[in-house]
Symmetry: C2
Subunit: 386 residues, 2 copies
């Protein structure tokens, strides 16, 4: 195991009907800005439930945060925060709304000239943030229990990550019932996103970390079991609850503590989303199987462990077992309805050079757990996405 | 899965050489009381390392906290805290020192008449506590990453639990190297203690919580692998590191979130320690196999899951598989050197009535995940400890 720091002070409030707890979770007397996305929380009643719970507070609303939260949009929220002297932010939505709210929390009190610097410094320039809480409606990104976010500047096709101990939610309410009305596409995306989060922290090289390995494998097995079930029986409380908790645990820092991490799949995926508008999870479903294939030598020992412990593959020689594990991964993504080849999304081969150009622009030329995913390797990965 | 709240703000600082981080982890200008136990941290140099890191602070020392931290002893520390206007507590030791330090943190600012009320209210009467940190030297109790403690009043043989969100350590430093010099008996006790902590949260009845089950099973498998290794090769950094992390994860609230919990084994064990002075883990090694045996009907489904997933037992009928799993549990404890029968500790049958009397005095008459472990059931369990 490697040395590490682990710190995660998010208060998780889990279960049916817990939104009413907002009345005591939000500090008394707060001026609260409720942030949300495209409006589904209005249609399905979640926003009404939130507003009922916040009856004792002065509240404001900011809707319209995009699926890939936009810097330009969020800066309008920052203006509202300043104009109305907001002192608590409540995100109601999925990872995009949460990520965006974290950015608003930091940007609203940012003292530098240009809040975009928060992104180009990966969050290092954050010294303070407004307190925030969350009501999660989509299990996927883990944003409800971590301090990070990914923000897009649409004008320049830049999609960048930030993180800071100042931007942990104070609390996150996870009510599985609030996920019943999600469209199947978003549910499937969430399964793929959570699965890939685990893989980025697990499928690297052995680091003598049996607890982290077994936790990661447990999450992968659980997602494999639940993926088809959540599509088939969307109103099954236990399936929804377990999927929600698995997705939260997939990216709250725990399984990544003390082990090497990859994240090259995410970096290539971010560029594909920024350039072509694919859903985040669609990019992961495309890139991950290719990434594992191209880098199978570096990842050999962990691929064999993954094959045996997660998929139960014990037959055949080592190459065959690795092939089967990668094929199973791809089939799993397809089985929940997320396609795994770029042509499935009408993206042509000209994308390869464009993505490589953006990777170079963003300094992403030495990715992965060994920092050996150069642009040449990324090219190989992208080529095998067709 | 059941509804739950999860909150754990402890900053874990893990790895060799991390004690030097105390210089920045303790708030600048603090008057620090360093608390420790029987003095092994003096002999092995850990205390010197701590004092070097705290060179910039005004420090005081309080040694002599017992293996089962005593109310009477701790109240002397409270007097010192008040007399010297201490404003930060640093526990250097194992679970006993940490538990004791948490109690001192709460009792030093307790406004009620009698600090013993902290225990009889199970911590509910705690409204404030001094901030505390920890340098862990013994992986076992998980106290480094939770808010609870167990305190003994020797005059009356009372051993009681308390917990409060005010008594989380601000940080805990886990340096595996600091555990190299532990006596084998303490190491073995730690393995048994951590194992039993997992079992109290796992071996109940199915609650449709696959993440929690798999995390628990991963910890049990890891402890089974590492137990013999840590005895055989005490200076193996990776073995020590993984054991330390497994013990921490065994009782930080995570695997118990959203699932039923038992804890009857601990309640009987506490009385045995308070009356006869057995090590805490010795009482668990004695009681747990008997508890599983006597309550095998209530725990049937989970015992079968435990047999298969943790021990790989797939042969024989259900009764045989359950028998084998319980026998393996007992053999595992014995294999690391912790005996599993009361006569091994020179405790005779008169103990049964004495323990039952104390259980009744402490209101422990409806224990376990179904609250159906009456005094009659506890009697059966105690009888089968011979």
């Amino acid at each position: 195991m490697q040395s590490f720091d682990f710190y995660n002070p998010v208060h998780i409030v889990f279960g049916e009907g817990r939104i009413k707890n907002l009345a005591t979770l939000v500090p008394a007397g707060s001026r609260v800005l409720v942030l949300y996305g495209g409006g589904s929380v209005k249609k399905n009643g979640t926003l009404d439930e939130v507003n009922s719970a916040l009856a004792g507070f002065t509240t404001f609303e900011f809707g319209g945060i995009e699926a890939n939260p936009g810097f330009e949009t969020l800066m309008r929220a920052v203006e509202l925060v300043k104009a109305e002297k907001i002192d608590f932010l409540l995100a109601v939505g999925g990872g995009s709304v949460l990520d965006g709210t974290k950015f608003v929390a930091a940007a609203s009190v940012y003292e530098g000239d240009d809040p975009w610097d928060i992104l180009t410094s990966f969050g290092a320039k954050i010294t303070a943030a407004l307190p925030l809480g969350a009501v999660l409606t989509l299990p996927a990104t883990g944003s409800e229990m971590n301090n990070g976010g990914v923000i897009t500047r649409y004008a320049t096709h830049d999609k960048l990550f930030f993180g800071s101990n100042k931007t942990f939610p104070k609390f996150s309410i996870l009510d599985p019932v609030k996920t019943y009305t999600l469209p199947p596409r978003q549910v499937a995306n969430g399964v793929v996103d959570a699965f890939t989060h685990v893989m980025e922290q697990y499928l690297t090289y052995p680091a003598d970390a049996p607890v982290q390995d077994r936790f990661a494998e447990g999450l992968l097995q659980t997602l494999i079991e639940l993926g088809p079930k959540v599509i088939a029986t969307p109103h099954d409380y236990q399936v929804r609850a377990n999927l929600m908790w698995a997705a939260t645990m997939a990216l709250n820092g725990l399984i990544g503590a003390g082990v090497p991490q990859d994240w090259a799949t995410h970096m290539l995926g971010h560029e594909l989303t920024a350039l072509y508008g694919l859903d985040h999870a669609q990019t992961l479903a495309v890139v991950l199987p290719s990434m594992l294939q191209v880098r199978r030598a570096d990842k050999r020992a962990k691929l064999l462990q993954y094959a045996e412990r997660v998929w139960g593959i014990r037959e055949g020689d080592e190459e065959a077992r690795i092939n089967a594990a990668i094929a199973n991964t791809r089939e799993f993504f397809e089985s929940v309805g997320v396609k795994t080849r770029l042509p499935d999304y009408s993206v042509g081969r000209e994308a390869i050079d464009r993505v490589l150009g953006q990777l170079e622009k963003h300094g992403m030329t030495q990715l992965g757990e060994h920092r050996n995913v150069t642009l040449a390797t990324s090219r190989q990965v992208l080529e095998s996405c067709f």
